[in-house]
Amino acid sequence: MQFVSFLVNGISLGSIYAIIALGYTMVYGIARMLNFAHGDVIMIGSYLVFVLMGSLGMPPFVAVLGAMVGCTLLGITIERIAYKPLREAPSLAVLITAIGVSYLLQNVALLIWGSNPKSFTSVVKMDPIRLFDGQLVITGETLATIIISVIIMIALTLFVNRTKMGRAMLAVSEDKGAAQLMGINVNRTISLTFAIGSALAAIAGVLLCSTYPTLQPTTGAMPGIKAFVAAVFGGIGSIPGAMLGGVLLGVIESLSKAYISSQMADAIVFGVLVIVLLVKPKGILGKAVKEKV
């Protein structure tokens, strides 16, 4: 029973990674850039919920919605100001700019909210579920995280594959030039991608802080890196890959924390990544592109 409980926790943590990884992977697919500031958008989203709920006393649902709107605006603004001028520049230049944005967001948060960790009140008001005569306890947060993630994944898959805008996103990620010739507004599509990614980041931030209730300016950094790893794990640029990679990563982390060593858990996670990439150099679900000479 213990194993199942660790597994469920792992899936819950992995779902959070998956939601964050979706933001990374969508942006990478479309703009071919590693958006290092994504983890910090998560942190800003959590702080927004903290302020809206704690100081302004809004109901949780409204607060989360507010944070999503805030993060969406933030994502679009970052893209316009920092990334758009560099769209034709070498990819490393954009990478460094993204790192700059990441520092900027962390320090703005530091100035506004200080470095002391804030304790985050969970937005989930659900009683834990007891199964098998109380041998297996699943907290409301865990359950809510998994359910919300499944909903998000289904909705996103439908959006990308069925709607006009979603298909435009796919087209732009496939071939920017050709998409433009077909009458797709590339700039608007890229903005839309950042908007969706940032809104997802807000949700991920809330779920993350509901499960692990300390909030400080560096909260987003490590989950950000892990989710980035998850995105690569599943094959960066691929939406199902990000989901799979995230969940797998969470499960591996949770199980190795429980059974091997809590200190070495990160090393094991990264070790698995290295092995997977050596066997499948484009990630689990990544498309192998043949090199043309």
């Binding site: 001028p85 790192i99 700059g100 790893v229």
Partner: protein, 358 residues
């Protein structure tokens, strides 16, 4: 004519050496005149370390053309192995400079070997995947060092990955690497002079490597791997050479860094340090060694200069970084700058000269 004409690269390299020498002399003069603040003089050795790190990472990123996000991992291998050596040898070798020199050599060799071992799997990958695997290795190295316990007693060395008690040390034995608390009790042997010498050695190694046959092979791989392969260049071999040299130099920097403090912990050499060094390289210009030196020095001093502004200094640092990247790299900006510089009077004269010359 008796004086031999220097080649373009040789001249360029001499200027690079000269900049470092002048920088060293200026800092020495300023500090003997008492014009360097305490906080800044404490930063002198770290600045040397960061310069070496930036130059060595530039070998991977700029010359080899592969993005590495785990360079701090090699720095930490160098730091830990050298500090381990010097703590063990504290009584045996009393001469600080000799101990430091040996420690730096050991750090460099250890990191070079680590670079070779990591490089074999990593360099099979390409692009962003390679970058993420270097990040992974950096984190693995940090994690392993964080949970490593090594002690020494009469019977020899004891290893553990649990805690210092499970080392089962005999009476009089002592713990040298104490897990997350790292190594304590390193003698602070590093000096600014030593840092300067190490920078010069690094420059000598890197600049000569770039000019050598191997260096040209590495650059040809960067520019077009397939073409390089088709003219018979062993891609894996040259990639590994460049990567290991880069790692070894990072190890030397780590050794210097470790001997500047009484305590070193693995946490110091995390992903953020790797990123910091990458920032130096990109801001200085990829493949431009001189740029790395200047960027590393300037960007390490900048937060110190801004110290008066306390809370705002990292904010300003971030904004400087973003603005600098947009200003330097954005195509529109580059075009605008070119139009502006073309209007400057001395540029106009140079242009007219060039035209007349033709």
């Amino acid at each position: 004519m008796k004086t031999r004409q220097l080649g373009k690269t040789a001249k360029h390299n001499l200027i690079t050496y000269a900049i470092v020498v002048i920088g060293f002399i200026v800092v020495q003069l300023l500090s003997s005149a008492g014009m360097i603040s305490n906080s800044l003089s404490g930063q002198l050795v770290p600045i040397c370390c960061y310069i070496i790190m930036a130059v060595s990472l530039n070998l991977t990123v700029g010359i080899l053309g592969e993005l590495s996000l785990g360079h701090a991992g090699f720095m930490s291998v160098g730091a830990f192995s050298s500090a381990f050596f010097s703590v063990c040898m504290q009584e045996t070798i009393t001469e600080p400079w000799l101990r430091l020199t040996l420690a730096i050599i050991i750090g460099a060799v250890a990191a070079g070997v680590a670079g070779l071992l990591v490089g074999i799997p990593v360099l099979r990958l390409q692009g962003d995947y390679l970058a993420i695997v270097t990040l992974a290795f950096g984190e693995i190295i940090k994690n392993v060092l964080n949970s490593l316990y090594i002690g020494v007693d009469g019977a020899g060395m004891h290893f553990s990955t649990k805690d210092s008690l499970s080392l089962n040390l005999a009476q009089g034995g002592r713990v040298i690497i104490n897990g997350a608390q790292g190594i304590t009790g390193t003698s602070k042997d590093s000096t600014f002079l030593m840092g300067f010498i190490l920078i010069m050695i690094t420059l000598f190694v890197v600049l000569n490597f770039i000019k050598s046959r191997s260096g040209r092979a590495v650059m040809s791989i960067r520019d077009n791997r397939i073409a390089a392969e088709s003219v018979g260049i062993n891609v894996t071999k040259y990639k590994l050479i460049a990567f290991s040299i880069s790692a070894a130099l990072a190890g030397a920097a780590g050794a210097l860094y470790a001997h500047n403090y009484a305590t070193i912990v693995a946490k110091k050499f995390d992903y953020n340090t790797s990123i910091l060094v990458l920032v130096f390289v990109v801001v200085g210009g990829m493949g431009n060694i001189r740029g790395s030196i200047i960027a590393a020095a300037a960007l390490t001093i900048l937060p110190e200069v801004l110290r008066g502004m306390n809370d705002y200094r990292m904010l300003i640092y971030a904004i400087v970084l973003i603005v600098m990247m947009i200003f330097n790299q954005s195509p529109q900006m580059v075009e605008m700058r070119q139009r502006f510089t073309a209007k400057l009077p001395w540029k106009k004269a140079a242009k007219a000269d060039a035209k007349g010359g033709k």
